[in-house]
């Protein structure tokens, strides 16, 4: 019997072997002429400097007014430039504006534009282009998702809501080079916002002549370091150096070629085969391997985002802070980061990620750990919390996450940790992303997985989330003291007072634990050694504006 089995196994194996041989032979012949024309890395060294990248999804809109999300912004950030821009170190420096001044109350900002700035079609960039672009995004008829990024302007929100006129929006071009901005309330991080893509200008002339200018490369006009010269929808894009850019001598690359590849594994394989110079995002297991091997091409870029779980604060017993805290203290974040998420993420013991400047130093570093993982304490808190709610054990509950292998692995790890550490039984449920959002909004969940990416580089972009009845407060948590601190931080221009208020607020948040922070995201990517000058600002994709190929 055994012999027979062995023989048939050998037979099977040999068939497979022969088959693979057949296939190899067949395709070999077909491909011989292709070999010479394959990846042309060598020829490029002498020709134009071309950087080859992957944008993992077709951009939804390359119009600054209606763009949203990283697939859009990665292109926009290189094709356009706002009033200000950021250095690789994150410092805000003059962009289209050469200088600016603020009124004492912090409400009026006057920007003076450079003289030598031009659109990629040669027209001058004027202050009117900024005014036009901002009002375009706020116009309800443009249906811009990111219109709310401009709600800081006086009358901005009202105009977007259809309650005010265009003329009442606080942005005016006094002359070709002077832009006066009036804010609804003092906004200390307004300067940061002026480098964000919703604040980019658009050419009024181009937009009025051809409202569809942004849909094809042929009609695309921008004011940044690169211009879009080819866009094969869902397939590829080409950026070329913009000869009208005022600082063009600082731009080393001649062209940037994007392919649009959805599949992370494919993108990684293209990188390995030398068809791409930089790849982000990477498949999760590849990240883990590269990190473990200390691969020199691997870069762990910073990110402005936090991964957390929402507790539905209206569902018993999760309305009890002790129960929430117990659950939070009973998971091992280091293990999750190291063995499950595997991207070099940072365990989170607060909600504001590192990389945001404080009055002095880094905001998150100054915060430190606002709670600790402690099993004994967790057990005690759980018991007390349950007793307060009149329960003797935690009823079976459900953790909801949006379908994804990565989220699933983390949810399973957390489930196991809670079971082992607290003896808590729970079920996992995965739903489509859109469904999860619907249910969170309707309060139809117990615990849900969430993530938040900061809109601008200030702790407020995170702290603001959990104000009472705030539009993003899916946990339905409310704390008057917290609200008061947020209000203080929002209305004062005194940097020290603001930061203190936000530190205080964050302490309250972590003391009450309406949400359970898990880790701070990172942006792990790989880049070939012949590419230099790529840098990763905390809130955007790797920037190649000053990159070079050696």
């Amino acid at each position: 019997m055994k012999k027979k089995l062995a023989r048939s196994l050998i037979f099977l194996l040999s068939i497979v072997f022969v088959l693979s041989g057949c296939f190899g032979g067949g395709t070999n012949n077909e491909s011989t002429p292709e070999e010479s024309t394959d990846p042309g890395e060598k020829t490029e060294e002498t020709g134009p400097k071309i950087l080859r990248l992957n944008n993992s999804s077709e951009p939804g809109s390359l119009h600054p007014g209606t763009a949203q999300g990283t697939h859009d912004s990665w292109i926009l950030e290189h094709a356009f430039e706002g009033l200000t821009k950021k250095t690789p170190e994150g410092e805000i420096i003059p962009g289209m504006a050469k200088e600016w001044e603020t009124s004492e109350d912090g409400l009026t900002w006057t920007f003076h534009l450079r003289d030598d700035i031009k659109w990629s079609n040669g027209d001058p960039v004027t202050a009117a282009d900024f005014e036009y672009a901002w009002k375009y995004a706020l116009n309800p008829e443009s249906a811009s998702t990111y219109a709310y990024q401009l709600y800081y302007l006086e009358g901005g929100q009202e105009f977007n809501e259809g309650k005010a006129d265009e003329d009442q929006v606080g942005v005016t071009a006094e002359d070709d080079q002077t832009l006066v901005v009036k804010l609804a309330q003092p906004t200390p991080y307004f300067l940061d916002l002026t480098s964000f893509y919703t604040y980019y200008p658009i050419s009024q002339k181009v937009q009025e002549e051809n409202p569809k200018w942004y849909q094809e490369a042929e009609s695309y006009v921008s004011n940044g370091a690169f211009k879009l010269t080819e866009w094969k929808h869902k397939e590829s894009m080409k950026l070329e150096k913009n000869e009208h850019y005022y600082e063009q001598d600082k731009i080393k690359l001649d062209e940037v070629h994007f392919v649009i590849i959805d599949d992370e594994n494919t993108a990684w394989q293209m990188y390995q085969a030398g068809e791409l110079d930089l790849v982000y995002p990477l498949p999760q297991d590849v990240q883990g391997q590269l990190l473990a091997n200390n691969d020199p091409e691997f870069v762990k870029g910073p990110d402005l985002a936090v991964y957390y779980f929402n507790f539905n604060n209206e569902v018993k017993p999760f309305n009890n802070p002790k129960v929430r805290k117990a659950l939070s203290m009973a998971i091992d974040r280091q293990t999750i980061v190291e063995h499950v998420a595997q991207g070099g993420q940072i365990p989170a013991y607060s909600v504001v990620p590192p990389g945001i400047p404080d009055v002095s130093g880094d905001y998150q570093e100054n915060t430190g750990n606002l709670f600790e993982e402690n099993l004994d304490e967790a057990k005690k808190l759980l018991e007390e919390g349950l007793a307060e709610e009149g329960m003797d054990q935690l009823p079976n509950f459900t953790l909801t996450y949006n379908t994804s292998e990565g989220h699933k692995a983390i949810a399973e790890a957390v489930q196991e940790m809670w079971r082992k550490n607290l003896g808590v039984e729970m079920t996992l449920e995965n739903v489509e992303f859109q469904v999860k959002l619907d249910r969170e909004k309707a309060g139809d969940y117990t615990i849900s997985r969430a993530g938040w990416v900061g809109d601008y580089v200030d702790p407020m972009t995170f702290i603001d989330l959990w104000v009472t009845d705030g539009p993003y407060n899916d946990a339905n948590w409310s704390n008057p003291e917290y609200d008061k601190l947020v209000e203080v931080a929002k209305t004062t221009m005194d940097q020290e007072e603001r930061m203190n208020a936000m530190h205080e607020a964050e302490k309250i948040l972590m003391d009450e634990m309406p949400i359970l922070p898990v880790y701070f995201y990172t942006k792990p990517f790989t880049v070939k050694p012949h590419v230099t000058g790529v840098y990763t600002p905390i809130n955007s994709y790797p920037q190649f504006i000053y990159a070079d190929i050696e």
């Binding site: 068939i15 024309t37 809109s61 998702t145 219109a147 709600y151 494919t266 394989q269 619907d438």
Partner: protein, 309 residues
């Protein structure tokens, strides 16, 4: 014949209308919202989006508007892209998927039939085992695994073909093979069993008895009759292949229309869901019609009902 064709076309249009209506209703009743995102957006922004895409109107009005634009062959805008409409999606994606699907289909039919016939003629001998093991591998190995293996060896290790994207003919080789494996295996198995059945029929014996050569018997009598079940499934197989495979297109970064079907649903992109469903249904209905007509050509015994003798 003409009467039959006209009747079928009429029936097809009716089927399409039912499909449109059902899809429209189902789509608006599944949970999820096209504009939802992490956190919620300010109310005004949401309302602006709703009114921009007419989603704030009563469902019946939306349905009317949709049918109206459909009559002008306009599938509407994509809610997720302001640069390409659903028409653009189909216009740019379908030729690509068609190209890929046709190549895959040619591979599948050619090798499927050859393997099937060889297997049946050598029943229970090694060519039979070989073909059927191949067929089992083809059916049981999911095409995303096959695709990954192909890429890993032929593109990364040996660098014979590019990894992905859609630029030249060499870019089409690996995805065509990956896509062809399943239908090829399916056709091979179907052909084999069908051949075995035909070969045991009396008329084959008769043909042999009247002294026809083996080749003639097989080619003229056996294969032709055995093809019928294969032709039946071809309609569906072709419709599936030419409208694109989400997985293969996604892995190889091919700008076909396969992603419409999956991403449309994920994003609750209503016009994309409707557009892809209608387009796919139209193709499927058309191909089934062709298959029905092809029967009469392959097997003259089959008469189209309604045709006068």
């Amino acid at each position: 014949m003409l009467k039959f064709a006209l009747k079928r076309v009429g029936l097809a249009l009716l089927t399409l209308w039912v499909i449109i209506t059902l899809t429209f209703l189902l789509m608006h009743n599944i949970p999820g919202n096209p504009f939802a995102q992490e956190g919620t957006m300010p109310k005004a922004v949401y309302e602006n989006l709703q009114s921009y895409y007419n989603l704030d109107k009563p469902l019946l009005v939306q349905y009317g508007l949709y049918l109206q634009s459909l009559l002008q062959l306009d599938f509407g805008p994509s809610l997720k892209s302001s640069s390409i409409s659903v028409n653009d999606y189909i216009k740019s994606g379908f030729p690509v998927s068609l190209h890929l699907g046709t190549q895959a289909m040619l591979i599948a039919i050619t090798f499927g039939l050859i393997f099937g016939v060889i297997a049946s003629l050598n029943r229970n001998k090694w060519p039979d085992y070989l073909s059927m093991v191949l067929a089992i591998i083809g059916i049981s190995v999911p095409n995303f695994i096959l695709a990954t293996i192909l890429i890993n060896y032929f593109a990364v290790e040996w660098q014979l073909f590019p990894v992905a994207t859609w630029k030249s003919w060499s870019h089409t080789v690996l995805p065509s093979i990956a896509l062809a494996m399943m239908p090829m295996a399916y056709i091979a198995r179907l052909m084999r069993s069908s051949m075995l059945e035909v070969l045991s029929q009396d008329y084959i014996l008769t043909a042999k008895a009247k002294g026809l050569s083996r080749n003639k018997v097989i080619l003229k009598h056996a294969i032709r009759n055995a093809m019928l079940p294969v032709v039946t499934v071809l309609g569906i197989l072709i419709a599936n292949l030419v409208t694109g495979s989400f997985i293969i297109e996604s892995i190889f970064g091919i700008p076909g229309m396969g992603e419409m079907f999956v991403k449309g649903i994920f994003n609750r992109d209503y016009p994309v869901i409707l557009g892809s469903t209608i387009f796919y249904s139209a193709i499927l209905i058309f191909l089934i019609l062709i298959v029905d007509l092809a029967y009469t050509w392959i097997d003259p015994r089959i008469k189209i009902s309604g045709e006068r003798k």
